[in-house]
Structures are given as C-alpha cells and as structure tokens.
C-alpha cells in the first residue's frame, strides 16, 4: 500500500517566520537594517569602517558581525565606538534569522537608527536566508572579475543595491567596471549602484548620502 502525505510547506518557513519577527522588532525600533553580502575579501568590513567614520557623531549605528571564526572584524569595527556583536558560525556558511534574533538581544536597539549586519563572506548561501533586514547590499570588488553577477545571479537578484569596491585597483585588473555594472543590471535592473574605494576614500559620500535617505524619520 502506498500512502502520500501532502505537505506543501516552504523549506525555509521556520527561518522566514523568525525573520518576520526580527523585521517587526526593527520596525518598532525605527531601525533601517542593511545586510551586507559579498564573497570573502570584497571589502565589507572596510566599507563598514569608512561608513562608521562618515557617520561618527551624527548617526547612532550598531553592527552585527558574522564570521566562521574569530572576532577580528568586531574588533576592527568596535574602534569606531559603536555597539557591536560578533556571531561566530563555527563553519556555518551564512547567517540565519535565529542567530540575528539572539544577537539583537545583546545590543540596545532603542537609540540606534542604522544597523549593519555583515554576513559571512559567501556569494551563494546567504542569498536565500531572510534575516529580517530592510535591504540586502551586495559588494562586488573589481578584483573578482566583471562576470560575477552572471555566475552568482541569486545574490544580485535579491539585493537592492550593489557597491562596486576597490575602484582604485581598476588600472591593474582586467575587470571592466562598465561590464560589471551592466551584468548586474541585466540580472536586476532595480539595483542602485555605487562605486567606492575604501583605500582612497572615494565614493563614500555618495553611498552614505543614500544610506542617510533610507533612515526612518524619527516619529
């Protein structure tokens, strides 16, 4: 005898439910939350440092750092005097909503306006996991090659903005920034695109002005 049980349930239902609760909590706290995703070494932490520097003294920011091991990134970020929580996934290749729920229990959200979640460096796995963020921001560096959006489309599909980082290295690499931008927009024409160099501190003003416009006005 064969017996079929119909399930029809989203595999990520549990994660999405926790993400929904996180989102509600962020909304109640008046927080704009950016989930930073990229391959390892694209410059997520460097961009974060430049951003924290820019907003120092004007916008209260919190940071959740995700890494497989070490708290090196939260040490870097903590130098800017912002509340920081480090999540160590111990081999896990992405952050999940329940890790964020636990992390926000360790941070006082009430006075913050902006929260950054720096995801584990990985251009594949974090794409599917909603953390409750307002937006996903994908960082693509010029040294990775201009074909990355076509190779890892899901991440670019799910992002609201793309930061092309390491523009100072363009003279030394074969990547064409126009091709990189066109490839990303071919997958997701709604992407807002920024070009930055965290070493030369260029493009940071434009990126931070956009962030500033996303901040939820105090009610």
């Amino acid at each position: 005898m064969m017996n079929i049980i119909t399930v029809e349930r989203s595999i990520l239902a549990k994660n999405d439910e926790v993400a929904r609760m996180n989102r509600e909590m962020f909304r109640n706290s008046g927080l704009f939350v950016a989930n930073l995703v990229s391959s390892p070494g694209a410059g997520k932490t460097s961009l974060l440092e430049r951003t924290l520097e820019y907003f120092r003294g004007s916008v209260p920011i919190g940071v959740i750092e995700g890494d497989l091991q070490t708290d090196l990134d939260s040490q870097r970020v903590a130098r800017y005097g912002v509340p920081t929580v480090q999540i160590m996934t111990r081999g896990g290749c992405h952050l999940e909503a329940n890790l964020i729920r636990d992390a926000i229990g360790k941070i006082d959200l009430s006075n913050l306006r902006l929260l950054f979640i720096e995801n584990v460096g990985n251009l594949v796995c974090p794409a599917n996991y909603d953390l409750g963020e307002s937006v996903k921001i994908v960082i693509a560096s010029t040294t990775e090659g201009d074909d990355k959006p076509l190779k890892y489309p899901a991440m670019f599909l799910n992002a609201s903005a793309m930061v092309i980082n390491k523009t100072d290295l363009l003279p030394y690499v074969s990547s064409d920034i126009n091709v990189l931008r066109a490839n990303a927009l071919r997958i997701n024409p709604q992407l807002t695109v920024f070009e930055t160099s965290c070493v030369k501190n260029t493009g940071i003003e434009e990126w931070c002005s956009w962030l500033k416009r996303q901040i939820i006005p105090a009610s």
Binding site: V7, L12, P189
Partner: protein
C-alpha cells in the same frame, strides 16, 4: 555549502508531519527546487542521506523536482524560460526580466510504504 542546513530544515518539516503517526516507513520525500534557488540537488541528496542515517528516515530517498526559471520581459512582455547565463529576453533582447518562477524551495509530499 548550505545544502546541509537546507537538508536539516527538510528533515525537521518531515518529522513534524510524521509526529504521532506510525503509518509505516518513509520511502520518498519530494521537494521542489527552483533553478535560481542556489541549491545543488546532488549535494542536497547527499546531505539528506548523511543526516538521516540511524533515524526513522534512514533508507528514505530525497527526490528533487526541479522548477525551471520562467521570466517575463519588462519591455515586450514576452514570457519565456530564462537562460540563466544571459538573463536576456529571447524575443527582443532586453535584459533584466521579471522572474516569475525558479526560486521555489518547498517540501511537496512524503511517500510512505509498508
């Protein structure tokens, strides 16, 4: 390699469905995966096998039903199966089509046997 964590979520859903029942052994667990979901079926099947060893689900098989990505051109409104290497309309060549399907990640059904 998030296939392990995806497999774990599938197993948890199956366990919840089976809780309190003793209607025989699980033969097949069927899941639906869109080609844009970023999950490798072979890795998922392997992870499922490894995680179910020594449990009630040992010996059951994970079957992946693949859903191709369908898209609609924002320019000429043509609907077509997406070429994931180009993301371009097959009728007019415009990029950035609206994605209609291909992101599915669902547990469809559980097949039980004697």
């Amino acid at each position: 390699m998030h296939e392990i964590s995806v497999a774990r979520s599938i197993i948890e859903i199956v366990r919840q469905q089976l809780a309190g029942t003793s209607d025989g052994d699980v033969k097949v667990v069927r899941v639906r995966l869109g080609t844009l979901a970023g999950v490798v079926p072979e890795s998922l099947e392997f992870s499922y096998g490894a995680l179910t060893a020594g449990t009630r689900l040992e010996g059951s098989r994970l079957e992946v039903l693949t859903v191709p990505a369908q898209a609609r051109c924002r320019n000429c409104l043509a609907e077509f199966e997406l070429d994931e290497e180009t993301f371009t309309c097959i009728a007019c060549g415009t990029g950035g089509p609206e994605i209609l399907s291909g992101r599915e990640m669902q547990v469809v059904e559980i097949e039980l046997g004697e």
